[in-house]
């Protein structure tokens, strides 16, 4: 069996006396579509922040393609090929939609490859990404002119602009209608088909079930289930966590 793309070993995180994560072990294989679920406060976002370098895990080890990430700042993890989208969209408000995509192209793809991209090359890449998410007509608009679903798509396109091997989508569908959710799921599957491994953190179960090949459940900072989605949702401990005793 080939080495996992992402390996999380015994990761733990505390905020003062509160244990946010405890002994998390997780392997994510190359090309996988992994769903990560859990009730509010279960530690999903904390885990994402520890993986992406926004927070430091006091205990345990995170490695990406066999390389230990501990201590690396967020931008270096992005350059290694780990991208994320945020739970609440965080666009660069003073830049246009196309310029929002230009930033990771300049700072990640260029830094990684060491190649100075010509303006036309960057424009072509931006256009390709905008076409992928269906925002070509909004290229020159400011993020404030976008609808909620368009903002989510911009968030995903910006993450994709760094040419990642792994994309962690943190609640990319929160607050969207069912048709918009379907739209985003289809988009994430298209991204996965381009060879990007995706970890989807989500509360909308229909989206998680249709997207995920594997499902992991966190409750109170601990992993309580890991397996095929159909098996996991029938797990007694998962039912207890979601529905109570």
């Amino acid at each position: 069996m080939s080495a996992p793309l992402l390996r999380v070993e015994n990761v733990g995180k505390r905020f003062g006396g509160f244990i946010a994560l405890e002994g998390i072990n997780l392997d994510v294989a190359n090309g996988e579509r992994l769903g990560l679920i859990g009730p509010n406060g279960s530690g999903k976002s904390t885990l994402v922040n520890c993986l992406c370098g926004t927070l430091r895990n006091e205990i345990g080890r995170v490695s990406f393609e066999g390389r230990a990430l501990d201590g690396l700042p967020a931008h270096q993890r992005t350059r290694l090929g780990m991208a994320r989208s945020f739970q609440l969209p965080r666009p660069f408000t003073s830049l246009s939609v196309a310029e929002n995509l230009r930033v990771p192209l300049l700072y990640t793809v260029k830094a990684r490859s060491g190649i100075t991209h010509a303006g036309a090359d960057l424009d072509a890449r931006c256009h390709d990404l905008l076409a992928l998410v269906g925002l070509e007509s909004k290229a020159t608009k400011r993020p404030r002119d976008l609808t909620q679903v368009e903002m989510r798509k911009l968030e995903l396109a910006r993450a994709m602009a760094s040419d990642p091997k792994l994309l962690i989508a943190d609640e990319a569908m929160a607050g969207l209608s069912q048709s918009e959710v379907n739209d985003i799921v289809a988009l994430l599957i298209r991204m996965n088909e381009r060879g990007v491994t995706i970890v989807l953190i989500e509360h909308i179960m229909s989206a998680v079930m249709s997207f995920s090949q594997r499902l992991v459940v966190l409750v109170s900072g601990r992993k309580i289930a890991d397996g095929k989605p159909d098996d996991v949702i029938r797990d007694a401990e998962v039912e207890r966590a979601y529905l109570g005793q």
């Binding site: 992406c52 931008h75 666009p91 003073s94 930033v103 300049l106 700072y107 830094a111 993450a159």
Partner: protein, 347 residues
């Protein structure tokens, strides 16, 4: 417009400005013009960190004063050399001092840039109001050090004798200082404009908009902020370097004056912080008004004028003159479009 073309165009404008100032046939134009140009540099330098990156620096006066005191330290070097160095070496130093103004500007820029880098390293993990307070503290600490540093005059201050004429060109020395500040303004504006249109400019904008998202997009935010504090500090130091020659007598209260900190912030705010044009507009407008107020009313009123204008702009045009122009342009565009539609409907 490409940067080399911009430099040539700026130099032509600078030559025209100098020509018009000469045509006035009054030395006061150079005295007043020097101060306005000094504020063009300070406002542009402040905007690189404050406007492009969104980090408000209240310590502009400290960087300006560092440049000024670097000049004082260099000018007084022969005294020190005569005291502690062999006679031969001391006479070499005495022959080389005072160095020409461009060299003093470079020295002031290097010192202030290094202090900017150090300050950035110590304070840039702070954000918002905490960063602003830290920069204010830097000004207080530096002023205390200067007040207690006897070599540069301490609290008594230091005299720097300004020659009547510039030996090489034969022009009045204040006129020469005016030309130097004009060239420094062109340099500062070119640097600011080049940053704005570069990868660095994109990086700075992302820091201003959302630092967490910037990091997630691969932007090395800490390194970029250090670049911004260094460039900003260096330009402020360069602006301060000729100041002892301009004023003739430098004391901590004048070098660390409130006017520098307030104007450095107010001018870009009033002009608009998102572009290199904003600080230029703000400095020209406020600097000229202050000079007029100083001559016609009093120098104390000039700072009051800054305060009043700042309050007015924050209320009426929070994005400065540039924001106001943008809004006007949009309104005119919308009015034209609706006029066109009405005509089409009538037809």
């Amino acid at each position: 417009m490409r940067t080399p073309v911009f430099i040539v165009a700026s130099l032509i404008v600078a030559a025209v400005v100098y020509g018009l100032a000469r045509l006035a046939g009054n030395d006061y134009v150079f005295f007043a013009g020097y101060v306005i140009l000094q504020f063009v540099v300070l406002a542009t330098a402040w905007n690189i960190l404050g406007g492009y990156c969104g980090y408000v620096n209240f310590g502009s006066a400290a960087f300006f004063a560092l440049g000024a005191y670097t000049t004082v330290a260099l000018v007084k070097l022969p005294n020190l050399a005569a005291k502690y160095l062999p006679e031969g070496l001391a006479s070499v130093i005495a022959a080389a001092v005072p160095p020409p103004i461009p060299v003093l500007m470079l020295a002031g820029g290097v010192i202030a840039g290094l202090v900017g880098l150090g300050t950035g390293y110590l304070t840039l993990r702070l954000r918002g109001v905490f960063f602003a307070i830290a920069t204010l503290a830097l000004a207080v600490v530096l002023q205390t050090l200067i007040v207690n540093w006897d070599y540069v005059g301490g609290s008594r201050g230091a005299y720097v004798i300004r020659p009547q004429v510039h030996a090489l060109t034969g022009i009045n020395y204040v006129e020469y200082l005016f030309v130097m500040m004009l060239l420094l303004s062109v340099t500062a504006l070119t640097v600011a404009r080049a940053i704005e249109r570069s990868q660095l400019g994109y990086g700075f904008a992302t820091i201003r908009d959302d630092e967490l998202a910037a990091e997630a997009s691969g932007v090395p935010t800490l390194r970029l902020k250090l670049v911004a504090t260094t460039i900003s500090g260096a330009l402020m130091g360069m602006a301060g370097a000729p100041f002892p020659y301009y004023i003739g007598y430098l004391e901590p209260a004048s070098a660390f004056g409130l006017a520098y900190a307030v104007n450095s912030i107010a001018m870009p705010m009033i002009g608009g912080t998102t572009s290199w044009v904003g600080p230029l507009l703000g400095a020209l407008l406020l600097g000229t008004l202050q000079q007029i107020a100083t001559v016609t009313i009093s120098s104390a009123v000039s700072l009051l004028l800054v305060g009043l204008l700042l309050v007015a702009f924050v209320v009426i045009a929070p994005n400065g003159l540039l924001g106001l122009f943008d809004k006007l342009r949009q309104r005119i565009g919308a009015a034209r479009a609706s006029g066109g539609n009405a005509r089409t409907g009538a037809a």
